[in-house]
């Protein structure tokens, strides 16, 4: 336990985090490309078309993983925000802020791909149903966090203010998750639950592989962004100048 805590504290040091993140990044990117490539070919070529949705079911191999990521990234940001507010570590603050644009990107992908799936399946690009509207609110919350962080000049104060907004926005996650059960929506209820899945394995597996690819992509992207934000915020410190001189920035 003591050893684990000591490792955790060491990770809170920006130069150590920068080096460690640099080592993890190539692996996470390679795994994202590999699993993404497999998932794409599987979903676009080998998986069968749906008997009702036809070929448009292939949109779900990117829509569903992106939707999961939009929720998971906010949850990740909430953990980092709690760490930032309780322990006041720069790395936790930076991780929370670095994840926000990636989360906004996945939420935009969810809304766009869902809209393109909705037209051939539902006959409309958009309806103001509870699931779609709460997901749109999530996009606005992501943009709010990014905007708030950029508005305040001192990055540490900005990160703490944005962390509070992240924790407030946490209330939207169960609303998105259970919107299809609490209200009568056009959006269908969850097909994959902890108790099992109603999707045929031929369609389920490429979906899970794509979900894995988005996780590895997020790991790469959040580390890449956090490294640069840390270096930018600490550009007056010797360790950043040393990295620049050694050409490792």
């Amino acid at each position: 336990m003591k050893h684990w805590l000591a490792s955790f504290h060491r990770l809170a040091s920006p130069p150590i985090f920068f080096r460690l993140a640099g080592r993890i990044m190539p692996w996470s990117l390679a795994l994202a490309i590999l699993s993404g490539g497999i998932g794409l070919v599987w979903g676009l070529v080998y998986a069968p078309a749906d008997y009702l949705q036809g070929e448009s079911v292939r949109i779900l191999y990117i829509h569903v993983p992106a939707a999961w990521m939009s929720l998971a990234i906010w949850a990740f940001m909430a953990f980092a925000a709690i760490a930032a507010l309780v322990w006041r570590t720069k790395v936790a603050e930076t991780l929370a802020m670095a994840a926000a644009p990636i989360g906004a990107c996945f939420t935009a992908i969810t809304l766009l791909t869902g809209s393109l799936w909705g037209r051939p399946t539902w006959g409309t690009y958009w309806v103001w149903d509870a699931r779609l509207t709460s997901e749109l609110i999530l996009l606005f919350l992501y943009l709010g966090v990014i905007g708030l962080y950029r508005t305040i000049e001192d990055p540490r104060r900005a990160a703490r203010a944005a962390s509070v907004l992240i924790l407030v926005g946490l209330v939207n996650l169960p609303i998105i998750r259970y919107s299809v059960e609490w209200w009568s929506t056009l959006h269908q209820p969850a097909s994959i639950r902890l108790s099992g899945s109603s999707i045929h394995p031929q369609m389920l597996w490429p979906l899970l592989v794509m979900a894995l690819a988005t996780k590895f992509y997020f790991l790469w992207a959040v580390l890449a962004r956090a490294r640069m934000m840390l270096a930018e915020n600490e550009s007056n410190k010797q360790w950043v100048r040393d990295l620049w001189r050694e050409g490792r920035l």
């Binding site: 676009l44 949705q53 036809g54 070929e55 448009s56 292939r58 949109i59 990117i62 829509h63 992106a66 644009p101 990636i102 990107c105 935009a108 992908i109 766009l112 791909t113 393109l116 799936w117 037209r119 051939p120 006959g123 409309t124 992509y217 992207a221 890449a224 962004r225 490294r227 640069m228 934000m229 270096a231 930018e232 550009s235 950043v240 100048r241 620049w244 920035l249």
Partner: protein, 63 residues
Amino acid sequence: MSGLEDILMERLPHWPFVAGAYAAFFLLLLFDAVQPYLAARRLRRELAARLTREARRAAAPKD
């Protein structure tokens, strides 16, 4: 929706929607993925300018 679009929807397969969705997916991810590289380039340029300025100031004769 226009009548023409409804007729096309009935006759065309769904591939244009699939292609549009995958294009949106890759364009947005690409936009997201290049941001750290742009930030690194900006930071390198700023650091180079700042350190050169500091070196010049240090080398300048003091009154």
